[in-house]
Amino acid sequence: MPLINHSHSLRSFLITLCLGLCLTVPAWADALNSDDSLELLNAWQETPVTTARIPRPPSKVAENITVITAADIERLNAHTLAEVLQTVPGIQLDYLRTPTTYTFFNLQGAYNTTVLVLVDGIRLNTYQLGIAPPGLIPIQQIERIEILKGPASTAWGSALGGVINIITKSPNLEHKASGMVSGSIGSQFTADSRAELSGTLDKFGYYLTVGNIRSDGLNPGTATNLNNINGKLTYSLPGDGIVTAGLWHLNTNPGMDLGDLAKYGGPFGDSQKIRRTNSFIKLTQPLGNGLRLELDGYLSNYYERLFSWYANDNERDHLINKENSRGINTRLSWGDGQRNLTIGLDYGHVSSKYRYYGGGDSWGSADLVINEGNWDQWGLYANGAYTIGNLTLLPGIRHDITGRVGDNTSYSLGATYQLMPDFTLRGYATSGYSLTTIFADDSKPQKVKTIQAGFETSRIPYLWLKGTYFYNAIRHSESVGINPTVTDQNRQGFEVELRTVPLYGFSVASGYTYLDARDNDTDLRLPSNSNQSVPPHNVKLKLNYDNSELGFSGTLTGNYIWWNKEPGLWYSMSDSGMLWDLHLNWKPFRKHELAPEFFFSGHNLFNGSQSTGVEIYNSAPRWFEGGMRVRF
């Protein structure tokens, strides 16, 4: 008998949440006090988001956006982006095994191959496979993550499913030298060691971090080792200009890709090696009269090798993917948070080669190039905002010469309306596209037409609430994997997110996403499998506790998924599952400058499973870790 009945878990969670809200709300009636002085100091301003490629207050953004800060990340004691995304409403991770192994995800039913992942403006999705596994992105250098749920092609080009825009940490402006060292260790010698140094000397700023994450493997065959170095230098120019240069190098062995496949006639074993180096230089210069110029150039190098061997030692396979890209992006923006216009030109050159050689039986004894290409890509775009009173109109257009799947023009028109100071209505309609992978017919891109509408409010006392309806008509949708299916789909659903104010240090954050994905030809509901995840129900729960007096904070996260499993699969797949994680942080001697902070995490507390491939890629079983960090 399973320890947890998943349907009961969901029910219990919802009942607990409702009861909690009902019981706590009346008790807060006298607790809230407006801080007029603070609002006056901050000019009632919101932290801007940059998902439209120009900083805008969230209330003037038409899309459904979630922002995660470094403080949110630290609460979770996360190692990689995967663990953070797992807590975001609408995002469901798959193959969430040992930290730094290959992971997949979907965003409101959009496959990860159609969600653009950017780090400091550089695309991480490979061009051959379209994937940017979040499990291979260390979290330590991340300052902020902006997640745009829905097509964003008018700003970013190939981004049919959405954008995950990662902004890395910048130099500490307050100190000449500051830093942090951190170490943790857990089950199966899963260890994470990090150090960072940051400061500003006159006009020169620096940020440097190094780290290693390793594990003997929480699941069979998932021993990993990841080395990471990231640096950023800034130099202030006259006239508030700034030059930023960055370098990120990653070298990782993310464990076996295929697990124990020998019993299915597959490889006896395999190993992977991935290297990535990204570098960029960026100039930001105000030109006066509200004009601002941004110019950046980048180089990106990606190498991935999958080495498989069979029972007969003579049979060995090598699959090697090499990609190099370089480019220049320039943007000219004008205006402020109320009215603005950005015009930009992106240029990139990509060379990629996907190659097989060896003596294994899967491709025969050969040395062959599966796919190779060199191409230029261009994107010209314009995005703006025009505010009249409480209404903001947000038009956008972008034309892409993709170099691979022809030209594409995307349009969008969005609007936000400030119904009350704390009640915003938003909606947008857009067209978008994504590149296909090498495994599909790449003569035409995947395309989407979308309508979204929603609201965001803190009008209800003690509660912040956001709701969004979405409808996506997707044509030529390509599933994930080496044998993809291509279908026309209509996906619609809604998402509700809520947060409460704290009560006795406790606060709740929760999200629910409903998805109805149908085949356009048959009008039948699409099921999930390992190549196509379209979960109808996804629930996120976060219970936070803060006690500043003791320097203690804790977070309990719950994640429920109902995959709607495809019947008759040859492999085992979870139909539904619930995972619970607990994260505790304690800084006992807060007054001292070098006070250590201790942290502890218990993962998958009740041994749940949420994998679309249970036998080979099952969720990591219950495991624990603890560690310490010191700032100076």
């Binding site: 007029d36 002085s37 006056l40 704290p502 240090g505 506790y545 007096e549 003791l550 607990l582």
Partner: protein
């Protein structure tokens, strides 16, 4: 496992009640990065023991009882809500920060000492002087900012600046009073007054500045991005350090009288595009304004 989790939560919830014997009780109105900045500076130098309470974390906080039972030697209030709570305390010295409410309460509460969250009027007048502005418009509510403008008037006389004052008692009057200043001022001084500056009236200030080609000088860097020509921004970490020093002085008996002091450090932030449009040399006021 369930028992383990419950045990951790129970311990974390109950342990605060065991905290006793400390010098400073810190009450923070709510969680906010601005308060965190202040406390960074405060903790940097202070050697006293303290207890922290974040007001918004609790349904109800009986501050009088906390003070009666814990006997802190000093109370540090951060924000309007915190000050409101501590006004119930009569005998323990209170140092209030990040609130505009100190001046209006200081006469009735001799145990109250405050640090203003905005720069002294003299600092602004130096900026206007350097900009060669002789007629400076100010909109304010006498009930909220009368004390500040009294000090400003005295300082203005010394540097030969005429303050063109317009009084408001509600936020709606701001637009009318602004339009009455057209053609009569060389610069507009946006003072920290919660009646004269509201979410709804901010834009009117900058539209006035644009339409009449006069610079708007504000009290916080947040307004520079919205259209102010410049602002005197208070360094919050330095503010925390200043509070730390004052705490030591109060605890050692060197400082006891009711008063409001201004921040030690304010930094000028400028909007270069606005400055250029108005043909004002930013270097000049930055150099002389710090």
């Amino acid at each position: 496992m369930r028992r383990f989790i419950l045990l951790i939560i129970a311990l974390a919830t109950l342990l605060p009640s065991l905290a006793q014997a400390y010098d400073v009780l810190v009450l923070q109105s709510r969680r906010d990065p601005a308060y965190d900045e202040v406390l960074k500076g405060f903790r940097f130098e202070q050697k006293s023991s303290l207890r922290m309470l974040v007001l918004s974390d609790y349904a109800e906080v009986d501050v009088v009882r906390v003070v009666r039972e814990d006997h802190p030697r000093l109370i540090l209030a951060l924000g309007d809500a915190a000050l409101k709570e501590f006004l119930k305390v009569r005998n323990t010295p209170v140092l209030a920060m990040m609130t505009l409410g100190v001046p209006s309460n200081s006469s009735a509460h001799p145990n109250l000492i405050g640090i203003s969250m905005f720069a002294a009027p003299e600092s602004y007048l130096t900026v206007f002087h350097n900009m060669k502005a002789r007629r400076v418009g100010v909109i304010y509510n006498p009930a909220k900012s009368g004390w500040y403008l009294d000090q400003a008037r005295r300082a203005a006389r010394q540097v030969g600046i005429d303050l063109i004052l317009r009084e408001v008692s509600t936020g709606h009057e701001t637009m009318t009073q602004l339009s009455g200043l057209a053609g009569k001022v060389d610069a507009l001084w946006m003072v920290p007054d919660i009646t004269a500056v509201t979410r709804e009236s901010i834009e009117a200030y900058f539209q006035f500045g644009q339409a009449n080609s006069v610079p708007v000088i504000s009290f916080s860097g947040s307004y520079v991005n919205l259209g102010a020509a410049a602002a005197l921004d208070v360094d919050l970490i330095a503010l925390g350090r200043q509070a730390d020093r004052m705490v030591s002085q109060i605890l050692s008996g060197e400082l006891s009288s009711s008063k409001v002091v201004f921040p030690d450090k304010a930094v000028i932030k400028t909007n270069r595009s606005v400055m250029q449009r108005l043909d004002i040399d930013p270097g000049r006021i930055v150099k002389h304004g710090n």
